[in-house]
């Protein structure tokens, strides 16, 4: 038995039954990371000693018969924009290259309280801006299926690490598809929860009204387990929803009989790679075979989602990232003449091109004289897109479609063309704009043996239906998801 090949649920159960030791499991993962991540570059920081220390502590708690969570002893890893007290949180930026937060994000706190073991922090696009993890200041993460290809982004490190069995599960963040798209590229399961379901406290803000933390896991059952650990109201986050959160494990039912699923015709149109389209159409047939009712619907404003998304997210980012000025923490330029020059040099040297591009775009969109034409218009489009979804959800339980228009592309293939990169978000941004939950899971592989992701979008706070549909689909399709690129390294 290979420890790292087990799912989170299997591992947790064996730890609870004392068939596996927490130190043994942690050691296995750390060894694997040490051996293979030199080729994958998914981790920014590995917490070797701290992980073994907490593994020992958790084992002691289990041995002494104390009540522990269903995830006790699971080695996990976090995207590097989730604050971890005493462990560097860099956002893959030179700006925060040495930033060591004196506080935990709420999710970090929850995972600690659940006796999980933090293995380290995962690579990402700088400040979560990008779809390929190529804009990281530190390293380019490779796709475990093909080391010449990107893992997607911005949570590329998280998706690659889960696909490579470097962790039992990981957390990512999703502002316009940053959990779902890399999950699709790496052949794993990624869920972006409803806006407000997971506390954003301690998630380094990119676009406050769109950001959401969510799990990236080996399978759907693990996704439900992780959701149980991280959802919930948090009084430290004013946008956190104060509702009753369900036990997501109860939705792991192999049954979608009678479930009404809408397939927006706009999601099968222009720009969609033909192999991906074919895979999705085939998946629809499979879903019908499982008892679901699949019908074509329309989300007519889909084409406006990308411009609205880039205006809103960049406007918020321009303000959120203004605090990185070299005064209080983080990078400060060495040479400057006065205060204004210090700001300019610090921000010029501390931020990469993509971050600067978004700050400039967002600053422009908020400027007096342009606000009404850009930012305000974008907010109006946002409302209309929400209305579109509401209309469809009157008659349907779920919306289904591709996660991304293509499979993983080659490193460097799109990084010189931001517009091409932005268009890759076409199927994911709408869920963020409308605040809805979305899940991506593998549905097929293309002719290059690269995974293709299928996405379900649900009603607000109805992650349960997403999990049920995804679980049923997964149980009835049984794909071989062993990353080919990784096996060449072993």
């Amino acid at each position: 038995m290979e420890i790292c090949k087990l799912t989170a649920c299997q591992t947790a159960e064996m730890i609870r039954k004392r068939e596996l030791g927490v130190e043994e499991v942690t050691k296995a993962y750390l060894d694997r990371v040490e051996k293979l991540d030199t080729s994958l570059d998914s981790f920014v920081t590995v917490c070797n000693e701290e992980a073994m220390d907490s593994a020992r502590r958790v084992q002691k708690r289990i041995d002494s018969g104390e009540a522990v969570s269903k995830a006790a002893g699971l080695p996990i890893a976090l995207k590097d924009n989730i604050c971890t007290m005493g462990v560097k949180t860099t956002c893959a930026s030179r700006m925060l290259g040495d930033f060591n937060p004196p506080y935990d994000a709420t999710v970090s706190k929850k995972l600690k309280a659940a006796d999980t073991v933090l293995l380290g922090k995962l690579n990402m696009d700088e400040f979560a801006m990008g779809g390929s993890t190529e804009s990281s200041y530190f390293k380019i993460t490779k796709n475990p299926w093909d080391l010449e290809r990107v893992p997607g982004g911005s949570s590329g490190g998280s998706a690659a690490a889960v696909a490579a069995d470097f962790t039992t599960f990981a957390l990512g963040s999703d502002t316009g598809g940053s959990i779902r798209q890399p999950s699709s590229f790496c052949g794993v399961v990624g869920l972006k929860p409803t806006y407000g379901a997971v506390s954003r406290y301690g998630l380094v803000a990119f676009a406050s009204s769109l950001d959401q933390i969510g799990p990236i896991t080996k399978d759907v059952a693990d996704c439900a387990l992780a959701m149980n650990l991280i959802t919930g109201h948090d009084c430290m986050d004013s946008t956190s929803a104060d509702i009753k959160y369900p036990d997501y494990l109860e939705f792991l039912k192999n049954d979608i009989k009678g479930m009404k699923i809408g397939i927006p015709k706009e999601y099968l149109g222009q720009g969609l790679n033909s192999e991906v389209k074919e895979a999705i159409l085939n998946s629809l047939k499979q879903l019908e075979g499982m008892g679901a009712v699949c019908e074509e619907v329309s989300l007519p404003l889909t084409e406006y989602a990308i411009p609205a998304y880039y205006l809103i997210s960049s406007a918020e980012a321009s303000s959120n990232l203004a605090r990185y000025d070299g005064v209080k923490y983080g990078y400060r330029a060495e040479k400057y003449t006065d205060l204004l020059d210090m700001y300019k040099q610090t921000r010029d040297e501390g931020f990469g091109d993509e971050v600067k591009r978004r700050i400039i775009l967002g600053t422009y969109a908020l400027s007096s004289g342009y606000y009404d034409a850009y930012y305000k218009k974008a907010l109006q489009v946002r409302t209309l897109i929400q209305n579109d979804f509401n209309k469809v959800f009157k008659d349907y339980d779920l919306i289904v479609g591709p996660t991304a228009p293509t499979t993983a592309y080659k490193i460097g293939e799109k990084s010189k063309d931001p517009i091409q990169m932005y268009l890759g978000d076409i199927f994911t941004v709408s869920a963020n704009i409308a605040g809805l939950p979305g899940i991506s899971l593998p549905c097929a592989k293309d002719s290059k043996n690269l995974p293709i992701g299928i996405q379900f979008i649900g009603k607000a706070f109805d992650e349960g239906s997403l999990i049920r549909a995804a679980y049923t689909f997964e149980q009835n399709t049984k794909l071989d998801m062993e990353p080919a690129g990784l096996s060449t390294l072993i």
Binding site: T89, M236, S367
Partner: protein, 476 residues
């Protein structure tokens, strides 16, 4: 040429909540630099604000006390600009939907009453403080004030003179003190004003070009700045110049202002709705709860003093201008019904002593009960009015009880008719000229004789007895 000045005031008041607007740090003044702060108020990565409900409550109170409408739905916005005292590089404020709007307060300048409109009151957060250290190489930042809640009270351009500005500002300060939402300590910066001022020819309908003077932190500075800027603008226009719309810095030491930045150089603050905070909803129930907590306001208290205590309008206005003074008055009035005498003592000797010693009214060493007791001693004839002044001064100096001072100093009034008669006779025989004058019909000559008698008795003789005996002797 006859000019008219047009002035609007933006007053910033720090709210007296215990904790800051978006975190649980204390708002206490002072403290070692950067000890009253946390990751939230210093803008660390990933932290989020949570609005302190008390801030809304206090701001709504201020709105209700100034006759504002209270918005049932308002929001907070980010005002973006770079400065080292602003750790997030934006100030969270309210832009187009303020919490309170459309209010008015009444002022009284030399008996002329006028209503001054309030455009709006909104909530926002204070910034930190830069410390320019001449010895260290550079500037240091203290974030203790960061996130201390403020309200900004914006008036309509309804003010027409420095006197009106002073009356408006004092009234506003008094209201805020009455409702206890701000301690209004100007020397600690918890109350400060920006003055928007323009001049125009009398009779002209359009406003002139205005300038703004920021962060005036004493009433004296506000008045001086208004007077100087009015003069500057009129002179500029008289000599054929034009007024430039600009922000000016008032230097109270030099008594002049200088230009900081023009309209063209003004910041584009790129306001937009703060996405980390929900809209502020003030429902009917909450509003009526806050309404019920509004105490008696200065104007109401003034009317009560006129009606209940039958004090002159002037006395009532002075006593109620500050809540501390009014409370002091009422504490004294509770033990002595001679309210006019209490009023006189407060407005006279007490105010004089406070000004001379430069102490705050809240730190008066004479308890109100003791002032009332002192007046009681006069009323009972235990001491003379003259001796009372001396007793008061000692009480103010030492904080002792009036009767203790009287005993220690031997200041009991002399009401021994034989002793007084002796002094009367002596005064008559020593001052034949005055006696002659009196008999010739100059009745005022009696004043001189009384003075001589009081002198001889060291001010302790009961004036009434002195008068009676003197007249009796003179008429003999």
């Amino acid at each position: 040429m006859d000019y008219e000045v047009v002035i609007g005031l933006e007053v910033h008041a720090e709210l007296a909540t215990r904790s800051k607007i978006y975190c649980s740090c204390t708002t206490e003044f002072g403290g070692e630099p950067n000890t009253h702060c946390c990751p939230i108020c210093t803008g660390m990565p990933g932290v989020l604000p949570v609005l302190n409900k008390k801030v809304v409550e206090y701001a709504v109170k201020a709105g209700l006390a100034t006759n504002c409408n209270i918005a049932s739905f308002s929001k907070q916005d980010r005002k973006n600009y770079f400065y080292p005292d602003l750790p997030k590089a934006f100030q969270t404020s309210q832009y187009d939907l303020p919490l309170c709007f459309g209010g008015a307060i009444e002022i009284d300048v030399n008996g002329v009453k006028k209503s001054i409109g309030l455009t709006r009151i909104h909530i926002e957060e204070d910034a930190g403080k830069l410390i320019h250290d001449a010895w260290a190489d550079g500037t240091l930042v203290d974030y203790n004030r960061c996130g201390v809640p403020l309200i900004e009270i914006v008036s309509e351009p309804d003010l027409r003179s420095a006197d009106e500005v002073k009356a408006y500002f004092e009234k506003l300060k008094s209201i805020l003190e009455y409702i206890e939402v701000s301690d209004c300590k100007m020397q600690e910066g918890s109350l400060r004003a920006d003055v928007n001022l323009s001049v125009r020819k009398r009779g002209q309908r359009e406003f002139g070009t205005r300038t703004e003077m920021k962060n005036l932190n004493s009433i004296k500075a506000i008045v001086r700045a208004v007077e100087a800027e009015t003069k500057r603008q009129i002179e500029e226009l008289e000599y054929g110049g034009t007024i430039i719309q600009e922000t000016r810095r008032w230097d109270d030491n030099k008594g002049e202002s200088y230009a900081m930045r023009s309209k063209e150089e003004a910041h584009d603050y790129r306001y937009f709705p703060e996405p980390d905070l929900l809209p502020i909803v003030v429902g009917e129930e909450w509003l009526s709860q806050i309404k019920a907590e509004i105490p008696e306001l200065p104007d109401q208290r003034k009317s009560r003093y006129v009606e209940k205590f039958e004090l002159p309008e002037y006395d009532a206005a002075v006593l109620t201008s500050s809540k501390i003074i009014a409370d002091y008055f009422e504490a004294a009035a509770a033990v002595n019904s001679n309210v006019k005498a209490i009023s006189n003592w407060i407005m006279g000797d007490l105010m004089r002593a406070i000004n001379e010693k430069e102490i705050e009214f809240s730190n008066i060493p004479v308890a109100p009960e003791d002032l009332a007791g002192l007046i009681g001693l006069i009323d009972k004839g235990t001491i003379t009015g003259k001796a009372a002044k001396k007793v008061f001064d000692i009480m103010f100096e030492t904080g002792k009880k009036p009767m203790d001072v009287v005993k220690e100093e031997g200041l009991e009034a002399v009401n021994d008719e034989a002793a007084i008669l002796l002094a009367v006779k002596e005064a008559i025989s020593n001052n034949p000229k005055s006696v002659e004058d009196y008999k010739a019909g100059k009745k005022q000559a009696i004043g001189f004789l009384v003075g001589q008698i009081m002198k001889a008795t060291k001010g302790k003789a009961q004036p009434q007895t002195v008068n009676e005996l003197l007249v009796k002797e003179l008429e003999k």
